[in-house]
Symmetry: C2
Subunit: 339 residues, 2 copies
DNA sequence: TCAATGACTGAAAGCGCTTTCACGGTTTTG
DNA sequence: CAAAACCGTGAAAGCGCTTTCAGTCATTGA
């Protein structure tokens, strides 16, 4: 049916071994022979069977991208497209392919596939939360793995992450710079590391400015718009009211903005508002949201580099690579009165 | 190194054939033997080698998702996450895995991978535009393919699409219903089918209402915010001004909104504004955008069903499946003065 | 001039699985 | 009670490729 290497060999009048050598650019093949084989390959439009090759060389040239939670629902932004674009960039360069392992709402979880040996050479985990399945799988899996974001419980896993802490600190300092004192925080979930780190950055900034962190000004959200709305309502009931709010995600900032409006106040005149993530929506809001941008595509790109480097030449002595990427303050209109 | 089926067979004291039969739930295996084999499998935590299996059965149980253009950049919305979630839903159900084939800005294009025979059982194309590579690849590829959105030049390819035309018609009728007469359109690119269809739906609505389509009220954009801004500025210069604008994408509607604001006018008081897509931003805008929602996840889900059905039992006589999914009008605040 | 080296090639042994075939032993059927 | 059907099993032949090994020539060095 499909044309095989044997057929190529037959047509070129050589053995299969030689054809294989030509295909893989081995040296020590007679140029004339080489040309005959290429000729046959072109004539027949032959494509090597990747599966057979994988079996023989015991590598698949495929890595997995594991997205355990349906977080695409959580972040209503192009986080994953960008991340994957970054990973793809590196993969394309090195002739690797990407397998997508996605948990869906059916409860089916992706580690099932991964287990099938020989399928994946390595994997990138893009999980925000350390759920039970993830940990369990990490425990027993044998392929190299790198994670987007640190996995607390497994310090041995290489990761690349964004400097959430410093990003949060920067934006809160920006708030302080504009004269705000009573600065509240709507944090992310504390079981997500990004949530915790951004909170810590908030504390850093306050402490550095000699402002004490007041528990009643800190409310835990879950990154969603709704949780931002609810948290902001609680904050508005405080007396005195906070004069600025740092929301640990742009979606929560949006919810907060709506709550402010609903109570007849305005941003930034009555309360300043800062977000985190720089989703497209942030620029589109009125007022445009001051926020922190993360280099998402770069995150993916570097994670893939780490993984592929490891696969292509496994290090002699084991060493855990860690990369922290800087974040960037994006100043728009929501933190201070316009001149 | 890794444990193989032979090892299982040895441990269970049977032949490899029998172990294979147990693994694949064949009937006609002595229950006692069956149990011994499972026992060995559990003990050793054996995982069959997927590559070897694929080679033997000549199927990989993997489908490709082909995203030729870097359109994730174009649509700043969670279109692909949702689409892929839908596809994943179906794939998980039927034990298939998804390979992601993404073109990146490097110019590397994804069809390279696909060609490697035996790698993919089938593919879903999620391409908005019919570029040269796509067509060329379709020409020579032999695996079953289904497309998200119709491919004009290849009527033989099964597809699932959203009823762009009817969606556009509905929303323009909504505009008419609220008393608007001079209704402009900012269309998508005419070389993209969704762009054309939405334009046709706009014409349908006008014609049905006895309003003639006026060329100066129709401006071609490219779905981006910027193009919406530019188009709206042109529209505002018209005399008399249109009293309503249908933008063929929410991003263009956003651009249009900014243009309206910039010229000191307001939506919907001075001009009504309607979008298309219902990206998260649409609900977050002020005023919240009236738009058309497409069942994106469902789109992916059904595309995958079509493909997998075809793979699992190939139809005797060839027939091209076509599915058109309905769109939904989402009425918010941008088309009429609030009561 | 002869041994040693090196270039080129094919046979054959895998990679880890599935599946056909054949065979002995049990049941069923006419 | 013989023939037919069926069950349960292992040997062996693939699936389409890579790679080792050994062998043939043609070169080179001493």
């Amino acid at each position: 049916m499909n044309i095989t290497l044997d057929e190529i060999a037959r047509r070129a009048g050589v053995s299969r071994s030689t054809s294989s050598r030509v295909l893989n650019h081995h040296p020590h093949v007679n140029p004339a022979v080489r040309e005959r084989v290429w000729q046959a390959i072109r004539e027949t439009n032959y494509q090597p069977n990747h599966t057979a090759r994988s079996l023989a060389i015991r590598r698949s040239q495929v890595i997995g991208i594991i997205i355990p939670q349906p977080i695409h629902t959580l972040f209503a932004d192009p986080y994953f497209p960008l991340l994957i674009e970054g990973i793809a960039h590196t993969c394309n360069e090195r002739q690797f392919a990407m397998m997508l392992e996605l948990a869906t709402s059916t409860g089916n979880h992706p580690y099932l596939h991964i287990g099938r040996r020989g399928f994946l050479d390595g994997a990138i985990i893009a999980s925000a939360v350390e759920d039970q399945f993830l940990l369990q799988w990490l425990q027993q899996e044998t392929i190299p793995v790198v994670s987007i974001g640190r996995i607390i419980s497994h310090p041995g896993i290489p990761y690349v992450d964004v400097d959430n802490r410093h990003g949060a600190r920067m934006i809160v300092e920006h708030l302080i710079h504009w004269g705000h004192h009573r600065i509240a925080a709507i944090t992310g979930p504390m079981n997500i590391i990004a949530g915790r780190e951004r909170y810590v950055g908030y504390c850093d900034a306050l402490t550095a400015a000699g402002i004490s962190v007041q528990p009643e000004l800190v409310i835990e959200g879950n990154f969603s718009e709704e949780s931002g709305y609810i948290a902001m309502n609680m904050l508005l009931r405080l007396d005195p009211r906070p004069d600025a709010v740092f929301a640990a995600s742009d979606m929560m900032a949006l919810g907060a903005l709506k709550a402010v409006r609903a109570s007849g106040l305005e941003v930034p005149d009555d309360v300043a508002l800062a977000g985190f993530d720089d989703i497209p929506l942030a620029a589109a809001m009125t007022p445009a949201l001051t926020t922190v941008r993360q280099p998402i595509a770069k995150l993916g790109q570097i994670a893939a580099c780490l993984l592929l480097d490891h696969l292509l030449n496994p290090p002699a002595e084991p060493s855990v690579q860690r990369v922290i990427l800087p974040t960037e303050l994006v100043i728009r209109e929501s933190c201070h009165k316009q001149p």
